[in-house]
């Protein structure tokens, strides 16, 4: 049996195995083919456009993409077979879509980086705008960092317990109308425009403390209105992912329900919970509109006190500087934007580390 399969060419034309053998084999393009075709497509399209006197980078990229898909499809059909050709073309489409998705992100990051680095230095990060006139070549963003950190921290302190406990209620205890009502209102809250959250707190503060009371706490409360539904939603999803068998195993050991939640359910879900909470934080840290309304937009001094006086924050600082419109103001705005992005990135880094640290371990 082995000898017949080893010598496919010996059989007559009607020999079964000998005929089937070639169908298993088909030519295959070398590994360097796709990049080579891509380079060729790029060169050809650049050449064609230049010859027509209409050369431009975007045009070249679009033409090269189309050329690449056609060429790799044709080449693969000729050398390989139809299925592989489709595979290569779809792979190409996937890469092109990926590139399209990355384009705005990379462009945004590089713009912020290039413009922001002009002014971002130790001085900028450590001084406030106190006593600096808008067009003076001085001043920094320290007071806004203080405001952002304080307000976001307070928003987190308010939202995380409320959101987490709501999620625990929904997953572990809630049934019937109340749970459905909570789910519905959480969904509605997710859709609240941020400016409405700001208006709500302005009205609330007006009622509680009288007109004109603007402080960091108001900003934090308006941010938690936005943050709570996000925390509830993501935590709920994460808690639902915890297998029921683990809860049952714990009950079967005679562990009460609340201890099961604290010691089994939450630790199992902790990685996902942390990520969800960090995402919620990142969502609110860049909010501008509610903070303009509640925490004020004209603070220039360093203010750590959430309950007294206006508080600047990074997004509001960017907004205020851009509105002033001078060259130096734009530089400050870009540098503040870069600072904000770095802070968000640090948050995500922290979330990654926490998830890695707490994630259930499967290694031997």
């Amino acid at each position: 049996m082995t000898t017949t399969t080893r010598t496919p060419s010996t059989g007559a034309s009607g020999d079964g195995p000998a005929q089937r053998q070639p169908r298993l084999l088909s030519g295959s393009l070398p590994r360097f083919a796709p990049p080579a075709v891509l380079v060729a497509a790029a060169l050809v399209s650049a050449g064609v456009l230049a010859a027509l006197g209409a050369f431009s980078w975007p045009g070249t990229a679009v033409l090269a993409a189309v050329l690449y898909l056609v060429a790799i499809g044709a080449l693969s059909t000729a050398v390989e077979n139809g299925r592989k050709a489709k595979d290569r073309m779809v792979t190409g489409v996937v890469y092109i879509c990926f590139a399209l998705a990355m384009l705005p992100l990379v462009s945004l990051l590089s713009t912020v980086l290039v413009n922001g680095l002009e002014r971002l230095d130790g001085y900028f990060l450590t001084v406030s705008m106190n006593g600096v006139t808008p067009s003076m070549d001085a001043g920094g963003v320290y007071h806004a960092i203080v405001g952002t950190v304080a307000i976001t921290l307070m928003a987190a302190v308010i939202s995380i317990p409320i959101g987490l406990f709501t999620a625990i209620y929904l997953v572990e205890y809630g049934k019937g109308r109340l749970a459905k009502a909570i789910t519905f209102f959480v969904d509605v809250m997710t859709g609240i425009p941020s400016i409405v959250a700001g208006l709500f707190v302005v009205a609330l503060w007006m009622m509680l403390f009288g007109p004109g009371e603007t402080n960091g706490a108001a900003g934090a409360v308006s941010l938690s209105v936005l943050m709570i539904p996000v925390v509830v939603r993501s935590s709920e999803e994460m808690l639902r992912l915890v297998p029921n068998e683990l809860r049952e195993a714990s009950y079967a050991l005679g562990v009460p329900k609340w201890l099961t939640i604290v010691k089994v359910v939450l630790p199992t879900a902790i990685a996902g919970l942390t990520t969800g909470i960090m995402l919620a934080l990142a969502r609110v840290i860049g909010e501008t509109a509610p903070l303009v309304l509640t925490a004020g937009s004209s603070a220039v001094a360093i203010n750590w006190n959430l309950f007294d006086g206006q508080m600047m924050s990074l997004p509001v600082f960017i907004y205020a500087q851009v509105r002033m419109g001078g060259a130096i103001n734009m530089e400050r705005a870009w540098a503040a934007a870069l600072t904000l992005i770095v802070i968000v990135m640090l948050l995500f880094l922290a979330a990654r580390l926490i998830s890695r640290f707490f994630a259930p371990k499967l290694g031997r």
């Binding site: 009950y251 005679g254 562990v255 290694g363």
Partner: protein
């Protein structure tokens, strides 16, 4: 330590649906009782009512009486949490806690109940339980590694060790070997023989050879038809059930002429 279970006139409902109808039986201490029967006939449901685990399922409720020696586990002042400390359970799928090490998994019951124990006591309990589950030799050098890293059979024995570590009087096993290879199954069956000396054991199994090998008493459950409740058809000495059962239905099932 082992206790007798007396069930009389037990009905189990899921909402309005009667899942198991009128079961009465006596489960002897220091013996192994096997429940056999086709899928969906209510064996597992009935098993879960023996330590009130069915209450975890929304809408499930029970009528009738389950006596553990002379205590009614459905009595008005009975705490289901206490019942489950008396009557432990091992599930079909091994479910060690993924966030805990092997060591922590074994003492999970004690630790999660916030019992205070010294390091020496805990070490002793872990070793005793793991030895009891025939797992000590295999894991003693890696007690601090995660429990989820063990093989399927080892995980199941870890779950048995975890269940015995809270020192229950009765151990319920819901198809403990259905996901395991023959070698691991053998290890667990040996373990059941050993545990029988101290515990009352109830085991649900689809494997009739297994029921014949490990049990002293066998109960056969069946359901009258689709949508009808499951019933206890016959319960007797295992030998008798497998050689000359009284009911024709039982004989059909164990000889493979089912339906």
């Amino acid at each position: 330590m082992a206790k007798r279970i007396d069930v009389s006139g037990l009905h189990v409902y899921y909402g309005d649906f009667l899942a198991v109808e009128d079961v009465s039986m006596t489960i002897e201490p220091r013996s192994v009782t096997a429940f056999i029967g086709s899928s969906g006939c209510g064996k597992s449901t009935f098993l879960r009512t023996l330590n009130r685990m069915h209450e975890v399922t929304p809408g499930a409720r029970v009528e009738g009486k389950v006596m553990l020696d002379d205590m009614d586990i459905y009595g008005p002042d009975v705490d289901p949490v206490q019942v489950r400390r008396e009557i432990g359970m091992v599930f079909q799928k091994a479910n060690p806690f993924p966030t805990m090490s092997i060591y922590d998994n074994v003492i999970a019951g004690a630790k999660l109940n916030n019992q205070r124990m010294s390091k020496a006591q805990a070490d002793d309990l872990v070793e005793r339980s793991l030895r009891g589950a025939n797992l000590w030799e295999e894991v003693k050098d890696r007690l601090n590694k995660p429990g989820a890293g063990l093989s399927g059979g080892q995980q199941q024995r870890l779950c048995i060790a975890r269940a015995t570590a809270v020192e229950p009087t009765v151990l319920l096993m819901d198809e403990p070997c259905s996901a395991l290879d023959p070698i691991s199954t053998l290890a667990i069956e040996d373990l059941i023989h050993k545990l029988k000396e101290n515990y009352t054991i109830v085991i649900v199994t689809h494997n009739m050879q297994q029921a014949a090998r490990v049990s002293d008493q066998t109960a056969f459950f069946n359901l009258a038809g689709t949508g009808k409740p499951g019933k206890l058809i016959e319960m007797d000495e295992t030998n008798k059930i497998f050689t000359k059962p009284e009911k024709q239905e039982t004989e059909n099932y164990i000889t493979g002429r089912f339906g």
